[in-house]
């Protein structure tokens, strides 16, 4: 059977896969081994702090297996959104792990690092020249927002990846990259149909997460001229047509149109057909090139410092009047904070009440009925960690001890599972840049660095 065999080793580097699955794919022949290294899904913290949401040990294990297999058979290995968020510290973290593996296993290769943190002055010049638009329900980008950001990354499409492959890179660690692009780059370089290449990439990005049952394992696509076949590598996992079609819905606004840097993947006419036991043949996907090359920017800014405490209540009288009670306590905390010289306007105090609306907040429709217990997370976000700690301590004691009508539990209102109860969580970030920019060329935002390892 011909075709280009593209292996997605792991749904995210560090989430793991069965070594036998990787070996089974390699034994059958692969033309590329790749994996997505991250996501914005775990929230803004990781981009802001420069850290990864998977452990170093788990990432090293996955990268080691991928790297050894790729070097053994001499095919390109590509990791996108390296280090979890694809910023400069993330890329360097992943590079250090890869170089450590190379030393330990005596591997030598041409490594390309694709840097994805654009120059701030260049981003501001795009703002000035009106080559920026919101990528969602966010305000227009300003030079001030660019300056305030803790970190900004551009999400690369296939162009820098194809350039790195053209330069002979054997291993590519890419900063922030479109999940699909890391799989679509090689087939697009080789002249395969763009619609199929992008759709294959879209399905490969989460590896065997698209299979039944959903699993953290490898996934193989065999790409041909007019279709591709998706198959899992463990006999326990099935890639049924419906499961593969369902994955096209994953984390997208539309199930049909998927925007990328260079155009839009269109799955309106896609056909999903079963092949044998547990594989699916996909055909008919189209790609509409866009007239303008665009890049999505993602950036975060510091929003303060957080301290929390976790507690619960089992008291029916308190649970019955929890909202009024928490309003009272909030006023008490404000008064006590003032006495410490802390302006209550300067911090935010949140009570997350699990058992009432902790999960859905204002969108919770179930407002009747009284649970027998409530979980309460007391949270303070303030301009400094010290102030957050101080206000949280006030809030914790006040929530524990403030009186309420009908109170019988006069020794305390809350059960704390931990000592210490107060947990300083460090900086809090928010997504502040979520915009599409139109550079003249991809190299305005991304830079390839090649190293002989």
């Amino acid at each position: 059977m011909g075709g280009l065999r593209l292996l997605s080793a792991a749904s995210i580097v560090g989430y793991g896969f069965a070594e036998e699955s990787l070996e089974r794919a390699v034994a059958g022949g692969v033309d590329m081994i790749a994996a997505d290294g991250g996501s914005t899904d775990p929230g803004p913290y990781y981009l802001g702090s420069g850290t990864c949401f998977t452990s170093r040990a788990a990432c090293k294990r996955d990268l080691m297996l991928m790297l050894r297999a790729a070097r053994r058979v001499g095919v390109p290995m590509i990791v996108g959104t390296a280090g979890g968020a694809g910023g400069e510290p993330h890329l360097q973290w992943a590079r250090q792990i890869v170089e450590e593996i190379a030393r330990e296993h005596s591997l030598h290769f041409k490594l390309a690092l694709i840097h994805a943190e654009p120059d701030r002055e260049h981003v501001k010049s795009l703002v000035e020249r009106d080559r920026v638009a919101p990528a969602g329900p966010v305000p227009p980008l300003t030079a001030d927002a660019v300056d305030r950001a803790e970190r900004i990354v551009g999400m690369m499409g296939v162009e820098p990846l194809v350039a790195a492959l053209d330069q002979g890179a054997e291993v590519i660690l890419a900063g922030r990259a479109s999940d699909a692009a890391i799989f679509a780059a090689l087939p697009i370089k080789l002249g395969y149909d763009h619609g199929l290449a992008w759709h294959a990439g879209k399905i490969l990005e989460c590896a065997a997460s698209c299979a039944l049952p959903k699993a953290h394992d490898s996934l193989l696509v065999t790409l041909c001229d007019d279709h591709f076949v998706v198959e899992a590598l463990s006999p326990k996992l099935k890639c049924t047509p419906l499961a593969i079609a369902t994955h096209t819905l994953h984390e997208n606004e539309s199930p049909i149109l998927h925007r990328e840097s260079s155009g839009t993947l269109d799955t309106a006419a896609t056909r999903y057909e079963p092949v044998g036991d547990g594989a699916t043949r996909v055909s008919g996907s189209a790609f509409h090139p866009s007239k303008r090359y665009t890049v999505k920017l993602e950036g975060v800014e510091l929003a303060g410092y957080r301290t929390i405490a976790i507690a619960g209540s089992r008291d029916p009288m308190l649970i019955g009047r929890i909202d009024a009670y928490l309003d009272d306590v909030r006023a008490v905390v404000g008064e006590k904070a003032r006495r410490l010289g802390i302006n209550p306007e300067g911090y935010r105090l949140f009570y997350r009440v699990y058992g009432r609306d902790g999960v859905m907040g204002a969108r919770e429709p179930e407002r009747d009925g009284q649970p027998h217990e409530l979980g309460i997370v007391v949270e303070v976000v303030a301009p400094t960690q010290e102030e957050a700690n101080a206000v949280l301590a006030l809030a914790r004691t006040s929530t524990l001890h403030t009186d309420f009508p009908g109170r019988r539990c006069t020794e305390g209102n809350l059960a704390f599972p931990y000592s210490p109860s107060d947990m300083p969580l460090g900086p809090v970030y928010r997504f502040s840049v979520w915009h599409v920019v139109e550079p003249e060329h991809w190299s305005d935002l991304f830079r390839i660095e090649t190293v002989q390892v």
Binding site: P255, V359, R363
Partner: protein, 105 residues
Amino acid sequence: MAKLQDIARICRSKNAGPFLVTLDVVFEDRQRYEQVKRSGVLGPDLFARLYGVRPEDVLFTAYDAGLAFKATLPRLVGSGDLGDTDVYGCQQHAPLLAVDVPVES
């Protein structure tokens, strides 16, 4: 009448980027999907009512090839921003489960 939780194979939510949440309802077979589609119950108005947004803020798509309905709408606050309750957006689907659809259960 049947509740979505009894006739859908998948009923789920997830972020579509940090500022949008997307809800998917997927059926096992085409007949069931077509019945639900014909009922007209699933549409922008339903999602607007359940999630307290305007119908014009709901991007609704029926995806025939996937036997799926998808609705994408704004989150209350950005993922991980102050006051967010669900960083991944993956536990916002529950109001859909109890939606009644005029089909045989």
